[in-house]
Symmetry: C2
Subunit: 245 residues, 2 copies
């Protein structure tokens, strides 16, 4: 058996997230079906992490094992010819048999995009959260500083999260302005369910002046999801990069 590491780009708009589940089509399912056609046997694809319904990926990583004589490039071309246009293999390589896309992942970058102006975007409505009222982005930046580092992020964790610990390390949280867009870039060792989206929802409350920047550290320390802001909508979120040794 050979093992392959896949880097996938996808537009999450038409999918019920990465992970196979009963209520709708998942990206993982589309990938598994295409791999099955190519290697002619039912094959499990393991992703580095789940993305929620409607969330995009520039570089999701996954792996699978297969008995095939095809070269990685041949597999890439075959998969891209079978995939719908909103899923693409950006890169593929053969890896050692102990490789695991989930457990070997050291670090991830997520980006959340907000469009902050009078009118929405016709060309990018499914790539950002449109917010009409002007945001005080300096207050948001001030508020975000306390989140950097190693913390218990229980306050920013979605319900039904099945992870054992809610301690995570956030290395970087940058607010990047680009015209009418505000991109929030999160770099961390790992993320809890909805963590990025709940942080964004909370920082937007600060940006709107509905929550003082100084309150965010208290919300973090409270370890109570009830104190944080709403979960930001999925279409603004994109998994940008996953780092491996």
């Amino acid at each position: 058996m050979r093992k392959f590491k896949l880097t996938l780009e996808y537009d999450g708009s038409n999918y019920h997230g990465w992970q196979v589940q009963p209520n709708g089509l998942a990206v993982q399912e589309v990938v598994e079906k295409a791999v099955e056609i190519i290697v002619q046997t039912r094959t499990h694809i393991m992703g580095a992490g789940r993305t929620d319904a409607g969330v995009h990926a520039k570089a999701q990583v996954a792996h699978f094992s297969a008995d095939t004589r095809m070269s990685p490039v041949e597999i890439q071309k075959a998969l891209n010819s079978l995939f719908p246009r909103d899923i693409v293999v950006a890169h593929i390589e053969e890896v050692s048999e102990d490789f695991d896309s989930r457990y070997f992942a050291k670090k991830k970058i997520y980006r959340y995009s907000i469009l902050n102006r009078d009118y929405p975007s016709a060309l990018g409505w499914n790539r950002c959260w449109f917010i009409q009222s002007p945001l005080d982005w300096e207050a948001m930046e001030r508020a975000s500083a306390c989140l950097i580092g190693r913390h218990d992020f229980s306050s920013f964790r979605g319900a039904n999260s099945d992870t054992k610990t809610s301690v995570r390390e956030l290395y970087r949280l940058d607010l990047i302005r680009e015209g009418d867009f505000i991109h929030l870039e999160f770099e961390g060792g790992g993320f809890l369910k909805y963590m990025v989206r709940i942080i964004v929802g909370t920082l937007v409350l600060v940006g709107k002046g509905k929550l003082a920047a100084e309150e965010v550290v208290k919300i973090l320390e409270s370890c109570d999801r009830q104190n944080a802001g709403p979960t930001a909508p999925p279409q603004g979120l994109c998994l940008i990069k996953i780092f491996y040794d």
Copy 2:
């Protein structure tokens, strides 16, 4: 009667172009229906120019006359609440009664985007022309130089074009590299039907090494559409800006 100038952003993917026609839904039709609801009378919307089926606009300009007491901002908000998500009013202003979006237009900028790498884009497949074979973009740039200026562009005009003269002035044609993308920016006084897309199709032949850069001036001078390259696909094209005095 008052007159209004509209600046519209739209994703052309789901429309049969700007102009109302019998075979499918046009952007103009959607705008006219929404304006009719707001001003409560059937209203003709005149665009600065047609965009083909599948072509996008960052800033198409159009005008209409109406008997209304609403302010421009009120009309903008009302239209944006009625439009589907792929059409947006970016700006609206009241103009003098002689204003005409088509005849007052001085200059337009179109941008054509090519994605040149091994694999297509899942997040941008309907915003670019994906070309897998490596393009010699310096040859394309060299070839493009002869097109700048005032010329008879008959060789780069689509069939069934109904304009009287095929002489147009191209002020600027820039090739801009951005990662794996090549953006071709056209600034001109006016454009013939399919002109940008046929020029792009011809320059891509040069980029692929199938046509010498020096041949492009001969194609221009021949005034014969048969000599030029194929029409590039519509989804890579976007109307960026229209200038008025």
